[in-house]
């Protein structure tokens, strides 16, 4: 083991995963002194998910209000509408039935309900300094990296507070199996990014490492079976991997790959997950070339103990990067070859780097540009 450094770690949510986990929600809510949840969902939620969720509350003496007005964009207006509905119906807990914008809006509504009695202003200078309404996260297999964390991305503003963690995460195999192939790939890519970046930084800690390691192992072992063969267990494992990756990410500063891919998403509309999948191996190669060590635990997580132990110590960091590239290669359909193939004009790279540093001032513009230029044209490498 590496030498233990000083650290702090927080993982707030209780996690229930597996068969019939949804049915545990009513009792868990009672333990949180709640009995009338507001359930948030996308406006295109499938009938199957709606029915499965409703049935899970059968015989529980609990009813719920369903707010299924959430679109692809997590904006202030939807958060406000949810908060108003919450108050009107006398609800006392929030359940986010879905990933990405659903969970962001649930957190946004929670901020409004707890911090702003007028439900008016959701600005990034709001101080989130008290316990909020109980919040439950029910993934549908399309996690985008922030759901299980202390962060919320609402209307391009990032909120970060330990009070934003969900109280409960319920991962049910009946729900995560129906995610689209695209969503599952993107979810896996974001989890990989969160896990690798959180465990590769100088400030990483053993608790976050263990979540990251588990996340990487679950994803690498289940990506094929889960996505191509849609096996229930594998889909469940991938969803767990995504949650674990988020928790690891939540306990580390935001890394360059995450920041840059988010910047490209916001400026140009390309999927942050797809771009992260492209940038991640490049970043690791740059780290190796810069003589900043890539930790050999990457190989252990992705390759397993046998591969790890049979590889000489010096070759493990590079081996880990190779394994990561092979893993991402499995998701070729969703990861671009290079930035040029996305038709991103070269003159935009400076704008992307500038925007990225404005959203995360801990990262140098020069480093972002180097990464972007390296990832721009595969033929030039």
């Amino acid at each position: 083991m590496e030498k233990l450094k000083d650290y702090s770690f927080l993982c707030q949510p209780k996690i229930i995963s597996g068969k019939k986990s949804l049915e545990g929600i009513p009792l868990e809510l009672s333990d949180l002194n709640a009995s009338k949840p507001l359930v948030l969902a996308m406006n295109n939620i499938s009938d199957k998910h709606r029915k499965t969720f409703t049935k899970a509350f059968g015989d529980s003496n609990m009813s719920f209000t369903l707010f299924d007005g959430i679109g692809q964009y997590a904006g202030v207006t939807a958060a406000r509408e949810a908060a108003i509905l919450f108050r009107e119906r006398g609800c006392d807990a929030l359940i986010a039935l879905g990933d990405g914008p659903v969970m962001n809006i649930a957190k946004g509504a929670n901020i409004l309900l707890s911090m702003d009695k007028h439900l008016h202003k959701l600005t990034n200078d709001v101080e989130i300094n008290q316990h909020m309404k109980p919040l439950v996260y029910v993934p549908l297999g399309a996690a985008m990296g922030l759901e299980a964390t202390s962060k919320a991305d609402i209307d391009l503003n990032l909120y970060d507070s330990p009070f934003l963690y969900p109280d409960l995460i319920v991962i049910d195999d009946r729900l995560v199996i129906d995610a689209s192939v695209e969503d599952m790939n993107y979810s896996a890519l974001m989890a990989l990014t969160g896990s690798i970046e959180s465990s590769s930084l100088e400030l990483s800690n053993p608790m976050a490492d263990s979540y990251a390691h588990a996340s990487l192992a679950y994803i690498s072992e289940n990506i094929t079976k889960g996505i191509k063969k849609k096996k229930k267990n594998s889909c469940l494992a991938l969803a767990n991997g995504a949650v674990m990756g988020s928790i690891a990410y939540s306990n580390a500063p935001e890394g360059i790959v995450y920041t840059t891919s988010k910047a490209i998403e916001r400026l140009l509309g390309h999927s942050a997950a797809a771009v992260a999948g492209l940038l991640l191996p490049h970043w690791l190669e740059l780290k190796s070339a810069d003589k900043k060590p890539v930790r050999d635990v990457l190989m252990l997580a992705l390759g397993g103990f046998d591969v790890y132990s049979s590889t000489p110590k010096k070759e493990r960091p590079h081996g880990g990067v190779n394994l990561l590239e092979d893993l991402i290669h499995n998701m070729d359909d969703y990861v671009p070859l290079d930035l040029k193939s996305l038709n991103i004009p070269q003159y935009k790279l400076k704008e992307i780097a500038q925007y990225a540093t404005e959203t995360n001032s801990t990262i140098k513009k020069k480093d972002i540009l180097t990464l972007l230029e390296r990832a721009y044209d595969r033929e030039e490498i």
């Binding site: 007005g69 679109g71 692809q72 904006g75 202030v76 600005t123 140009l268 390309h270």
Partner: protein, 620 residues
């Protein structure tokens, strides 16, 4: 005066960096396939400019194209186009204008002028039949559009100029010609980035004579008859200008109110064309030559000024909850003098008001209050204080401050004054129009709301009509003639004119593909054909429109445009208008799928190889 029979087929190619010019000769094939105007300008740029060019960089090219009808006296043919890569959106944009430059350029013997490179110092170009002279613009750099024209117009009969907004690279700066504008897309900033203050053409050196004059005169007579018989062109627009749209939009629930939160307002009549005609004693003030006569001027603040057009009235008026036509006229003037697009400027102001309300942005601007707007507009043009942020447009503002929910733009271009939640076809059109949120690519709101010829709250048939409309408008913009002639030329032929509206509604909504085949749009190709002497029928005409449209789309996809960009602001997809109890939003997804299929695009909105091949577009 010398004569040009048909068209000169000559385009000037100017290099500002080298202070040189060349002459491009247009081939018959290019002429038939791309018609002229927008189409030909786009093709010339495609052949000369690579993908990935910085819109404000040296390699961007801007083309000003007159079109074949210019100078022949055909009705409403006094319009010309400008085409370039837009700094507002990062993709191709074109804009049409009725100012005097088009005629001046055409009658100097040129079908167009294409400009590339960057001048070392502020420059203007003087064009005559011999070519181009490069002139020092130091004395007019910094002057507003009217003052600048006063100076350079001494050297010709028509010019294009930019104002301070263009010089300061405001992302929605426009180009002025007379008192008309090449409004959308920030074309003024492209000229500003090239240190090009203006271009003046001598004009009146050539007479343009159609090749088949007798036939041309026959079609011209028919066209004028249609225009004079049509209710919209001869009554509504002729009497009240485009502000005749205010009452129609309000009645249909598609008037933009309070940053597109509502669709109607009880005070809308105060800014209608009917009220303004009375209150401001309006008179004609039009492009030349024009038969429709929609342009008006009136008395504002004791002075005779152009009446703001509908887009300006809607977006500076009801959309800001302001119903003071004097104030709106003043802002119209400021935008005109500074050289800024009123649609984007007003759209940016309304975002600012809502963002201020929500605590995302710090300003003193408020809905319903005229305070601070004049100063803000001037500051935008000069990029002073918060004007520097606002000069970037709503897309970039939302990226920086949040508020993307209510940043009312598509692909970066601010929304015109029609709320698509009351006109689903318009929603599709906004989402897929090549230059961004454009009401002129296919004006579905006319069909769905003003004329009642298609049901507004259904998805049926919309993809068919939007495709058809795009092809026609692109072709018309390549003739070039005013798009308003569509009201007359499409609606006056007997079959349409004498079919009851309810029946038209049923047919056009439910059997759109069949209905459009019955439309007689032959006047346009006939006018073109009799001028050039080249064969052109309706089918070839529509095919040319489709070709130009797809070329433009292909050029945009090379810049990264795909399905992810063919969308609408979240407000239009997730919130209903406040008055609408059903809270209807635009059901874009399914219309988009069908549209792509019809257009020959793949599921990601990229033109398929076989589509490009069908239209003879060579991939680059």
């Amino acid at each position: 005066m010398q004569e040009i029979i048909g068209t000169s087929n000559k385009v000037l190619e100017v290099d500002l960096s080298n202070k040189s010019f060349d002459i491009i000769t247009i081939t018959d094939k290019e002429r038939v396939e791309y018609l002229g105007g927008k189409g030909l300008g786009l093709k010339l740029i495609y052949d000369r400019m690579d993908a990935g060019v910085d819109p404000l960089g040296e390699e961007n090219i801007i083309a000003f194209m007159g079109g074949v009808l210019m100078g022949t006296g055909a009705p409403c043919s006094g319009r010309f186009d400008a085409i370039t890569k837009s700094p507002l959106t990062g993709i191709m944009a074109s804009s049409s204008c009725g100012g005097p430059f088009g005629m001046a350029l055409k009658t100097s013997g040129w079908d167009g002028i294409v400009v590339k490179g960057v001048a070392k110092t502020p420059t203007y170009l003087a064009v005559d039949s011999k070519g181009v002279t490069f002139k020092n613009a130091k004395t007019i750099w910094g002057k507003d559009t009217q003052a600048s024209q006063k100076v350079i117009d001494k050297e010709g009969t028509g010019s294009v100029v930019i104002g301070p907004a263009g010089e300061n690279l405001v992302k929605f700066a426009n180009i002025c010609s007379g008192q008309r504008y090449l409004g959308r897309g920030g074309l003024g900033a492209v000229m500003g980035s090239k240190n090009l203050k203006g271009i003046v053409a001598k004009g009146k050196e050539f007479k343009i004579i159609p090749k088949e004059k007798e036939k041309f005169d026959k079609y011209k007579k028919k066209a004028i008859k249609y225009i004079n018989n049509n209710d919209l062109t001869s009554e509504a627009y002729r009497k009240f200008g485009t502000n005749a749209n205010v009452n129609l939009a309000n009645a249909g629930g598609i008037l933009p109110v309070r940053n597109f939160t509502k669709g109607l307002h009880g005070e809308a009549h105060k800014i209608s064309g009917e009220t303004m005609a009375e209150v401001h004693d309006t008179k004609f003030h039009t492009c030349k030559p024009c038969t429709i006569l929609c342009g008006h001027k009136g008395t504002f603040g004791g002075k005779m000024k152009p009446v703001p057009e509908y887009e300006t009235i809607g977006l500076f008026g009801s959309n800001l909850e302001i119903f003071d036509t004097e104030a709106i006229s003043e802002w119209n003037d400021i935008c005109g003098e500074m050289g800024m697009d009123t649609i984007s400027a007003a759209g940016t102001i309304s975002w600012t008001m809502e963002a201020t309300e929500k605590g995302l942005f710090d300003s003193k601007l408020k809905f319903g209050s005229t305070d601070g707007i004049s100063e803000t507009l001037k500051n935008i043009a000069k990029r002073k204080g918060m004007g520097d942020d606002l000069a970037e447009g709503t897309k970039r503002l939302a990226q920086k401050y949040g508020g993307k929910d209510f940043a009312m733009n598509v692909k970066g271009m601010e929304l015109p004054a029609y709320d698509p939640r009351g006109s689903y076809g318009q929603g599709l059109s906004y989402a897929v129009a090549n230059r961004g949120a454009c009401h002129l690519t296919t004006s579905m709101f006319v069909l769905e709301v003003f004329l009642g010829m298609m049901q507004p709250y259904t998805k049926r048939g919309k993809h068919v009509y939007v495709d058809f409309g795009e092809n026609i408008s692109t072709a018309v913009n390549s003739l070039h003639t005013c798009l308003f002639t569509a009201f007359a030329y499409e609606l006056e032929p007997p079959l349409i004119k004498y079919t009851p509206t309810f029946l038209l509604n049923i047919m056009v909504t439910n059997m759109t593909a069949v209905a459009i085949k019955f439309m007689d749009i032959s006047l346009w190709p006939e006018l073109w054909s009799t001028i050039t002497g080249q064969k052109m029928n309706t089918s070839k005409f529509l095919k040319a429109g489709a070709r130009i449209n797809i070329l433009e789309r292909y050029m945009n996809t090379r810049e990264g445009i795909s399905k992810k960009d063919d969308t609408l602001p979240p407000r239009l997809l997730q919130e209903g208008r406040t008055f609408d109890s059903k809270k209807r939003t635009v059901p874009l997804e399914s219309m988009l799928k069908k549209y792509y299929k019809r257009k020959g695009y793949d599921s990601n909105g990229i033109p398929k190889d076989r589509t490009l091949k069908k239209y003879g577009i060579e991939k680059k």
